[in-house]
């Protein structure tokens, strides 16, 4: 069972990233270790894909795995662009947290994939969403950082610009995920939007970031409320991702990744 080898990934990523932290003075080694840690998650995903004989995107644990893979990648990209070490640190820790959650909540190794999900839309729809979630998580980390800096009166304007850029990227992916989903649903079921609880919460998430973008555009100097919105929007995103399964409205959702036989 391939999930029982998962501890290997957790341990190797942890130690590779720890090595990156230890030799953070050496730019080359730091980048190399971060890259290797990320690649090891990628290799596990590839193995899982082959062994499961289906894209590993169906269960919550599988989506967490992709997330843990995208986060360090995005952390690295933002690091290359903005040169903030803390950004790397945040995204790597968050990624490790998600790997740890996966380790503590093992799942069944299940090859079954319901016919509804057997579509060329399946992979782009989920992958685009997961990368949106990763960008938006990064932007919320930046927002929390910005709020901290604001209240300690050390706010760096570059932080706001970085938050904006991450939101723009994340929002673009989020919109594409939503639109891919609508097209897929139309082609597969005959309707774009059925107000399934997951769809409803995805729309709330989308609207939350829409408000942030417009507020920032209109009032670039009033950053405090924008930063609060950005930090809170991530809470909604998490409700959409994990919380929906526990809501009273979710009994008949096609998006609950049920484990029942």
């Amino acid at each position: 069972m391939i999930w029982s080898n998962f501890i290997l990934v957790l341990v190797s990523s942890f130690f590779l990233w720890l090595s990156a932290l230890i030799c953070h003075k050496n730019e080359f080694l730091k980048r190399l270790f971060i890259l290797l840690g990320t690649v090891s998650i990628g290799i596990f995903i590839a193995f899982l894909w082959v062994k499961l004989e289906r894209p590993p995107l169906r269960t919550l644990g599988e989506t967490r795995l992709w997330y843990a893979f995208f986060l360090p990648a995005i952390g690295m990209i933002t690091y290359l662009r903005w040169r903030y070490n803390w950004m790397l640190l945040y995204s790597l820790s968050l990624s490790l947290l998600f790997l740890l959650i996966n380790y503590l909540h093992p799942e069944n190794f299940s090859k079954t994939l319901m016919p509804a999900l057997q579509s060329p839309w399946f992979v782009p729809h989920v992958v685009v969403y997961i990368s949106a979630y990763a960008f938006l998580a990064a932007s919320s980390l930046v927002a929390v950082r910005g709020l901290y800096q604001h209240y300690t009166k050390t706010l760096d304007r570059k932080v706001l610009l970085m938050a904006d850029n991450l939101v723009y990227l994340g929002f673009a992916f989020l919109s594409l995920g939503l639109l891919f989903g609508a097209l897929w649903a139309k082609e597969a079921w005959g309707h774009y939007w059925t107000w399934d609880p997951k769809e409803t919460w995805a729309l709330i998430t989308w609207l939350g970031y829409l408000i942030y973008i417009h507020l920032r555009y209109h009032m670039p100097t009033k950053f405090r409320s924008s930063l609060w919105i950005l930090a809170l929007a991530f809470v909604i995103l998490l409700v959409c991702w994990f919380g929906v399964n526990y809501l009273p409205s979710a009994q008949f959702s096609v998006h609950t990744y049920s484990q029942a036989p």
């Binding site: 069972m1 999930w3 799942e107 069944n108 190794f109 299940s110 090859k111 079954t112 994939l113 319901m114 016919p115 509804a116 057997q118 579509s119 304007r157 610009l161 904006d164 850029n165 939101v167 723009y168 990227l169 929002f171 673009a172 992916f173 919109s175 594409l176 639109l179 609508a182 097209l183 139309k186 082609e187 597969a188 079921w189 005959g190 309707h191 774009y192 939007w193 107000w195 609880p197 409803t200 919460w201 729309l203 709330i204 609207l207 939350g208 829409l210 408000i211 417009h214 507020l215 555009y217 209109h218 670039p220 100097t221 929906v244 809501l247 009273p248 409205s249 009994q251 029942a260 036989p261």
Partner: protein, 408 residues
């Protein structure tokens, strides 16, 4: 910024916008309480006439009042944000409260909160948003500047999606058809089981289903619940599988996808209703060995489990479908015939109707002779697609350009 201006003094800002949005919500809720439940939807040609007049009025208002303060307010960001917030508030309610008809008549039902999308507050806020979005898009489109193309695409795209999707919902026909093997069906029924005749007939020649192997699982004898002390709690059965399930070592000695019991064992056979079965050897944590047959049964055969001890039993789960499809022939009134295979995620269009494979008789599983199809007619689909593609272009633009640095 400047000193605080008194409320309701021009130019209006956030305070006025939020008060107006709140007012719209209140008016909507009031209408909901007073007026009868809004069930009618507009159908062709009334939706087209209404839509066209709305658009013409919008353009006319834009041309006439383009330079006024009220236009600036109506196409401004504060009003946009307040309306989007009001919409978010309603959608959050919708995400929490189940959207199902209810026999009770409490406040939730009276305010229409359990059928939000057809409630007056929801319709009014959306209409208002459509006006604001229309004004903004018009302002950025005329006069057209090339650098605004991303903005124009995303905003008009969204406008078209809401406009065409909303107006077209009355013309959308979504029906179901139950077709049986070797029979021809031309009637479809809606979600209230009202039947109507279709302009096409469907003959089901064959219904095919391909299943995954069933899984091994351990259940509690008393409750029948799945025992999940450790993961994996379910393992797919393969020939000669040896695995460990919650401390028990299980070996699959024989396995048949279709079989029947005769005497003290199961034999492979392909009768109607033949079910999967496996002969297993189980070694308990105390090193006791058990042997026996398990089967998940079928609609006409009993299931069989293996009792491990007083508390637990080993069972076989019902196999999940891997793929199902219908071989059909379509007949249209003009005398044409067309053969096709319908499969989930692979629809076929005939005579303006899109036909989808939806389900089958799940009790009978692989022996189902019934195929449930969904038939959909949506004449507004191309227009919604135009909007969706424009929004996609807008998203790609956003991804490409990112946030342009604003001089603060």
């Amino acid at each position: 910024m400047s000193i605080k201006k008194p409320i309701w003094q021009q130019p209006w800002g956030y305070a006025e916008s939020f008060i107006i949005s709140f007012g719209v919500l209140c008016i909507g809720s009031g209408l909901e309480l007073v007026l009868p439940v809004n069930q009618s939807t507009l159908i062709y040609p009334f939706n087209l006439i209404l839509g066209l007049s709305f658009f013409i009025l919008l353009v006319l208002a834009h041309v006439l009042f383009r330079k006024t303060k009220i236009h600036a307010f109506l196409s401004g960001i504060p009003l946009t944000i307040s309306l989007v917030s009001a919409l978010s508030f309603m959608v959050i309610l919708m995400g929490i409260l189940p959207q199902i008809p209810s026999q009770q008549n409490g406040l939730i039902q009276q305010l229409g909160l359990n059928r939000m999308t057809s409630s007056y507050p929801f319709l009014l806020i959306n209409l208002f948003l459509l006006i604001v979005l229309g004004f903004v898009s018009l302002r950025k489109t005329v006069p057209f500047k090339l650098k605004n193309w991303g903005f124009v695409c995303s905003h008009w795209g969204l406008w078209i999606v809401i406009f065409a999707g909303g107006l077209g919902s009355g013309d959308l026909r979504r029906l179901r058809m139950d077709v049986y093997e070797n029979k021809t069906e031309w009637r479809a029924y809606d979600d209230q089981d009202r039947y109507c005749e279709m302009p096409l007939a469907i003959k089901l020649k064959d219904f095919l289903i391909d299943e995954f192997h069933p899984k091994l699982a351990i259940v509690e004898n008393k409750t029948g619940d799945l025992y999940e002390a450790q993961k994996p709690s379910m393992i797919m059965i393969e020939k000669d599988l040896i695995c460990r399930l919650q401390g028990w070592k299980v070996k699959v000695e024989e396995f048949y996808m279709t079989s029947g019991r005769a005497g003290d064992r199961y034999y492979q056979l392909s009768d109607f209703g033949a079910a999967p079965a496996a002969k297993v050897r189980v070694v308990s944590p105390q090193a006791d060995t058990l042997q026996g047959w398990i089967s998940c049964g079928s609609f006409n055969r009993p299931h069989e489990s293996l009792k491990l001890n007083e508390q637990f039993s080993l069972v076989m789960t019902v196999p999940e479908p891997k793929r199902f499809s219908s071989e059909v022939t379509f007949f249209t009134p003009d005398g044409k015939k067309q053969d096709a295979t319908l499969e989930v995620n692979k629809s076929v269009t005939v005579n303006g109707w899109k036909i989808y494979q939806l389900s089958y008789d799940e009790k009978k599983g692989r022996y189902s002779d019934k195929s449930i199809l969904e038939v959909v007619r949506d004449p507004w689909q191309p227009y919604v697609y135009i909007g969706i593609f424009m929004m996609m272009i807008g998203a790609v633009y956003m991804f490409w350009k990112g946030r342009e640095s604003v001089s603060e």
